[in-house]
């Protein structure tokens, strides 16, 4: 571009100068850990999932049976289709890993406390959103497990009355039938776009309450080089999974075609849906399941107000409690993945009990104790 064109463009559309002032020369606090790049990584992964999902959507057929066949077609007959499918599946794993890690880290460091309540809520909204998107994506696979999972979800939804029933009816259009996957596919992509909106709101909210740093550096070259490291390592983990464990964390049985006459003994979802699935499985009635899942989320949303610290940093006891909570949720997922049995049902009840105990009793007590010192 000649200098003349540049100045002509710059006076009409000041891209270069705003890039200069808003991005490259932005003042950032020094000594951010690599984990501070998780927000950028989540955004990049969501973009990546949107692009790979777009490619898949060109071949995907949203109808029971035909959906499974179309995914087989993508994997076997579309040029590099297997790679794009692997990208999308593993991208989902990376997105959830990063999102769960952010939630855990925020709890551990007390990053949800005032004035960060709204950023915390937006993080949870994003988590809830990707869980819904993840479930829809899982249902779209139309395998031997997810076919029946969608069936059970929609049948349970259709039996609900009033407001919950209306939502279910609006989303699924009644019990699973020929048109259900089409709705699910549309919502899968539409909600993904909504995810970008939530990420943008989160970024704006985070910037508004960020403390004024005492020592700053410019974004470029300091944080570009910093993020380059985070992206390279993230891509390395991603590549190892894509090429050497492409279906890691998925139920293998879902790679077989669904049989409308054969219900699998256990409907184990992919790893990232296990926590929700475990909360839902703890009740035998649909309303009870919904209530437990919402309650599980509600205590997370309420964390900033249950917390009794008065501006003190989280102490060791609190941090140990959060680490135990992480183990608790991990154990809950393992018990759920193990399938229904007397032992896993007892363990799940204990783990879910501890989860609520942590947020409603232990965490407020620990923070109150630590703020007195």
């Amino acid at each position: 571009m000649s200098d003349q064109t540049k100045s002509w463009l710059e006076t009409r559309l000041p891209l270069a100068s705003s890039m200069q002032s808003c991005i490259w020369n932005m003042k950032m606090a020094v000594e951010k850990p690599y984990l501070a790049a998780l927000g950028s990584l989540i955004t990049a992964t969501l973009i990546f999932l949107t692009l790979s999902g777009f490619v898949l959507s060109l071949f995907y057929v949203a109808a029971p049976g035909a959906a499974f066949d179309s995914i087989q077609f993508i994997s076997r007959n579309v040029d590099n289709g297997w790679l794009v499918r692997s990208f999308h599946a593993t991208g989902a794993t990376m997105l959830f890993a990063a999102t769960y890690l952010v939630v855990f880290r925020t709890l551990l460091t007390g990053g949800y406390r005032a004035p960060n309540e709204l950023t915390w809520i937006l993080k949870l909204v994003f988590l809830g959103l990707v869980l819904i998107i993840g479930y829809f994506g899982y249902a779209m696979a139309d395998g031997a497990v997810s076919y029946w999972s969608l069936h059970e979800t929609t049948v349970a939804g259709a039996r609900l009355t009033s407001f919950p029933g209306a939502i279910s009816n609006w989303v699924f259009g009644g019990p699973a039938g020929p048109g259900t996957l089409g709705r699910v596919a549309v919502l899968h992509s539409a909600l993904a776009l909504l995810g970008f909106g939530v990420l943008a709101l989160h970024l704006a909210a985070k910037r508004a309450v960020a403390p004024v740093p005492t020592k700053t550096v410019t974004l470029h070259p300091y944080y570009t080089s910093h993020h380059f490291v985070a992206f390279a390592v993230f891509a390395l983990i991603f590549a190892v999974l894509v090429f050497f464990a492409p279906h890691w964390g998925e139920n293998q049985l879902n790679l077989a075609a669904a049989n409308p006459l054969v219900v699998p003994a256990v409907l184990t979802p992919p790893w990232y849906l296990l926590p929700v699935s475990a909360f839902a499985a703890a009740s035998s009635s649909p309303l009870g399941s919904i209530f437990l899942v919402l309650a599980g989320f509600a205590v997370l949303f309420a964390a900033p107000w249950l917390d009794q610290s008065k501006g003190t940093k989280p102490g060791l006891f609190y941090k140990i409690l959060v680490a135990v909570l992480a183990l608790d949720v991990f154990g809950l997922c393992m018990a759920q993945a193990d399938g229904p049995s007397m032992l896993s049902s007892i363990l799940s009840t204990i783990f879910i009990g501890w989860y609520f105990l942590h947020f409603l009793v232990l965490s407020p007590l620990a923070t109150a104790m630590e703020s007195k010192k």
């Binding site: 020094v30 000594e31 066949d69 087989q72 994997s75 076997r76 007959n77 297997w82 790679l83 692997s86 031997a144 550096v217 070259p221 300091y222 080089s225 910093h226 380059f228 490291v229 992206f231 390279a232 390592v233 891509a235 390395l236 590549a239 190892v240 894509v242 090429f243 050497f244 492409p246 279906h247 293998q252 049985l253 879902n254 790679l255 077989a256 075609a257």
Partner: protein, 242 residues
Amino acid sequence: MKFGISAAALLAASLAFSNAAKAEDTLSPLHWQSQGNFGSYDKAALQRGFLVYQTVCASCHSANALHYRDLTALGFSPDQVAAIASNVKLADGSQASMDDNFKNPFPDSQVAAKAFGGAIPPDLSTLVAAHPRGTQYIYSLLTGYQAAPSDVNVMANHYYNVAYPGNQIAMPAPLKDDMVTYADGTKATTAQEASDVAAFLTWASHPNLDARKQIGLRAVIFLIFLSVLAIANKRKIWSGVV
């Protein structure tokens, strides 16, 4: 049935001239070359496995996701694959072409269920992928037929198999020694046939395994270097600040 045998003989003959390879031992110890992070398919085993599949399995099982043209990945030339396809008679009596899906032996699953007392032979395209340790499972299942212990009552039209969940399977033992004649001179024992067809069905489930691992190795090596470079770059840039 007579046609089936002569077709198998034709198939074996048509594959015979291509294989100058020598007899292989994949049984002691039992292994599949595709296993492990760097393993790739043993094409000789895949070709033997396809012979077993086409001679034995294909008479009852479908593999709907596969096309005859896909067989070139096993190391067959296009002419050989065309010969394999032309040996297959489709339901309408015509010869199969390269672009046809593997022939489904039954017009629909109800006919299949009727033929086998209600048990539908599962589609084999994704059987290995859909089962934990799928390759080993196929081998164990095919070599797992035994006389039932005295305290087990085997149901009508069922057979005792140690590898099958519940131990009672509706499929009679499909393999026996020398059911096929391998062109490469490998001895066609039941165990060898089972191991080869397990290799073939693994390929059927994961046709891109070789490409995946090849690209993967390059991608991972590249990204390791990129990560090291990124860390060095970051340290150099930040050296004056912190």
